[in-house]
């Protein structure tokens, strides 16, 4: 069924309550516009979030939604996706929610390849709790909870996702709505977990964290746009290039290398090694940083495998019959005189399986 939607169809009557100037507004608009462009009935979308500023997102989406528990959104979304493959299930999370308290659920959703679209709003700070350092904050960062500077080594979310066997890994920027929409489209079309790190500015507690990628002066020097099938070059006139050297990705002067040595981006490589090398070009948005799709490979989704098992079992054994099931351990019959009159061959169940066998 197709329908015609505008952004307004995906807006709720609830007042949006992020701080004025927050990057979340831009992302919300990008997502609403993107969903409207799909012409898909809005009741088929479910947005699931954890806790944090970004996790208020479902309240502003006129779809089905759950605002769940800190860190647990991928788990809740997994239960929806596994039982309802007909739905489009989205997870909205942040750097604290997904990478700190919810790290376990994030990696396991990705390795299983559950059909979830995970949008990680990375602002490198705890906003809702008013400004503590997060698992992506830079070392030395001074915050309310790290007045002497953070001594936590940060995660590189892209490296983490690749290490967790994710089949779709991408990075984009809140301010760049065109790029965000492109990535959303690719993620939506991907069958399986799509992990998108979105650099999102917190103008209250961590303003200008991404200035190297958003500033008018800076961005042209630091944005490395990953485009499938194209050699990776960047800079105002493409004067910088990425090459592989000893297994590592390195930035070189384009003029200084044989053009054949410049790495041609291919997110469909089945081995994640090159994608991982690209993710290590920057450990945060502090200099030249790749944006775009790092990896996009095909692997059966968890729910398709589960549905296949169900279908196969029904094909082989026939639909389950309860009366047969409860007789499957053998039976005997007691007559009106209280005597056992018929005995099956196998009257008792197995012993508890966690004992000696």
């Amino acid at each position: 069924m197709t329908v015609t939607h505008t952004r307004a169809d995906f807006q709720t009557d609830q007042e949006v309550r992020w701080c004025p100037g927050c990057g979340d507004y831009t992302i919300l608009a990008s997502v609403q516009n993107f969903l409207a462009s799909l012409n898909r009935p809005r009741e088929q979308f479910v947005f699931v979030s954890g806790i944090g500023c970004s996790s208020r997102f479902p309240y502003y989406m006129n779809t089905y939604g759950i605002h769940s528990i800190h860190g647990r959104a991928p788990a809740v979304a997994t239960g929806i996706a596994l039982t309802r493959p007909d739905l489009s299930v989205w997870v909205i999370t942040g750097d604290g929610d997904a990478l700190s308290i919810g790290g376990n659920h994030l990696i396991h959703a990705m390795r299983r390849n559950v059909n979830l679209k995970i949008l990680l709003f990375n602002n490198q700070i705890y906003g809702l709790t008013k400004g503590q350092y997060s698992p992506t904050s830079e070392p030395g960062k001074r915050t309310k909870s790290s007045p002497h500077g953070s001594i936590d080594h940060p995660f590189n979310p892209i490296s983490l996702a690749l290490g967790a066997e994710a089949t779709f890994v991408a990075r984009t920027l809140d301010m760049d709505r065109e790029h965000t929409t492109e990535i959303l489209q690719a993620a939506y079309e991907h069958e399986g977990t799509a992990f998108i790190e979105i650099y999102q500015n917190c103008n209250v507690f961590n303003d200008k964290a991404f200035i190297q990628l958003t500033g008018k002066e800076e961005r042209v020097h630091n944005r490395i746009n990953l485009e499938a099938g194209k050699p990776i070059t960047f800079g105002p006139n493409g004067e910088k290039a990425v090459v592989l050297e000893g297994g590592e990705a390195k930035i070189v002067d384009t003029a200084a290398v044989d053009p054949g040595r410049i790495l041609v981006h291919d997110p469909t490589r089945s081995d994640p090694t090159v994608a991982f090398a690209l993710s290590r070009l920057s450990h945060g948005p502090y200099g030249p940083t790749p944006l775009g799709i790092f990896r996009k490979v095909r692997r059966p989704t968890y729910e398709s495998l589960l549905d296949h098992q169900v279908a196969t079992a029904i094909a082989k054994q026939g639909p389950g019959d309860l009366a047969t099931l409860i007789r499957s351990h053998g039976t005997w019959t007691v007559d009106a005189n209280g005597h056992a009159v018929e005995a099956g061959a196998n009257g008792a169940p197995k012993a508890g399986s966690n004992g000696a066998g």
């Binding site: 009741e43 089905y64 605002h67 596994l82 169900v310 039976t331 019959t333 508890g352």
Partner: protein
Amino acid sequence: MVIRFAGDSGDGMQVAGARFTAASATFGNDLATLPSFPAEIRAPAGTLPGVSSFQVQIADFDILTAGDAPDCLVAMNPAALKKNLPDLKPGGTVIVNTEAFDERNLAKAGYETNPLEDGSLQSYRLIQVPMESLTKEAVKDTGVSGRDVLRSKNFFALGLLAWLFNRPTEPTIEWCEQKFKNKPEVAAANIAAFKAGYNFGITTDATRVTFEVKPATLPPGTYTNVTGNIALAWGLIAAAQAADLPLFYGTYPITPASDILHELSRHRNFGVKTFQAEDEIAAIGSTIGAAFAGNLAVTGSSGPGIALKSEAISLAFMTELPLVVVNVQRAGPSTGMPTKPEQSDLLFSLYGRHGESPVPVLAIASPSDAFDAAIEAARIALKYMTPVILLSDNHIANGSEPWRLPDVDELPDISVPFATVPNSEKGFLPYLRDFETFSRPWAIPGTPGLEHRIGGLEKEANTGNVSYDPDNHQLMTDSRAWKVATIANDIPPVEVDQAGDEPGDLLILGWGSTFGAIKAAVRRARNAGHAVDHAHLRYLNPFPANLGEVLRRYERILIPELNSGHLLRLVRAEFLIPAIGLNKIAGEPFRIAEIEARIDEILGEPAQVAARR
């Protein structure tokens, strides 16, 4: 007749016990079993902690527990003898594997002298069998070799018992052929050892006396023998059919609940979706998602796992989604004794959550009762849109009993219609309550026009929008509590098994797996002349509506529990009644005699009571 198989945890005592049980069931005996095995999968061989045992009571009348003191003990080594002999009835039969009684094993078990030689077993009927060499000899032509040879000695012991207790041999032989059909040499060895044991019984003078246990008198019907975990799994499948919903079971492996997952995961052809999550929190998280999406959603665990799920149970309570949370209780706190039963999670089930979050709590009384209890828990969850905690314990989970099979065509209809159209002029109000049940509508994703958001933040009445309004929070807190409290009107009143026409001198109030022991103790006390009544609670929250009235009929109320007095506290607090407790926290079920003794203590010796009348 109570028989206990005891040996090293690698000796296959659980298998031998289960096979003996199976043969007895087909023979028509009533039976109850009590497996006991160490938490360590393989504790050091020959040591006391490594002893694994399996007890079965077979009888020709309906029995309620696996029995107290064994009449017959099979001890595969000195440690098994040392650990289990104190339980044996005076004059009971001891069957020992003599070849395990060497110096090394005696030392490991802490024996200074050999009990087979020092006369300490004189008051028992001792049957000495060189089980290892006989087993070796029996299996020598079957093709097994090395360590596998002696693995069949449990079947030798089983054969001997089969002869002693006149059990049919065919079920065990058929089982071996079936179970080891891919390892024909193992099947052949086990059968050879089994027959050798049986024949040893026939031909040796030492075991000339045989016991005879007549078939039990049970109500007419078709029976199977079932453990609590299996009955629970089947009950969940039945509940899903009765609710006309797909079943989703999200869980994380934990003793002693894992067998529910094992059983459910076998039945994909029922459309059952099992999900082994990455942890306990993800297990219930996925279940909440599945509930929102329109499934009969169930999670199961044991105490430590339930603790991890606590925050999510509150979310399910707040979002008012239907969920069944199974807690197969084990001895705690912390890791405690994972393979031992206890009822110490009752107060935790009622109160172990943040905020005001009362949830219905039900308890299973016996292995076969798990089937009906699962359906009832699902009924309440769906009808009232609430998480429900269903309490089992290790005694129920791994114990077994004959179960008279229900007619599956007569399962109750527990289906609840999904919302399909807006329920007000203003559109869909996800928290507009049903006038009768106080329940909110269940609108699942994919339903056009009913898009809505739920979550952990406090909800405005009716609209479900986020609200910080003080009056609204009071209203919603009261509404949620009221919804759960009114379930009391939708459950059966508590029934009293009354000795006479009038209330007796003592009411014993129980819940959960103590059912069998209490029932048996009450029966014995009545036979001895006491007027003792018994009531057993399936519903711990809310209590049945008539409970207070029932309790007030009695001057004396005894509440036996495998905890420090949880129900006792609840009853005292709720009804201001000075009930007294019988409490045991030893990681094992009550013995009938313990309850009986407490009855005598309260009421006096039966003769004195009669004299007073």
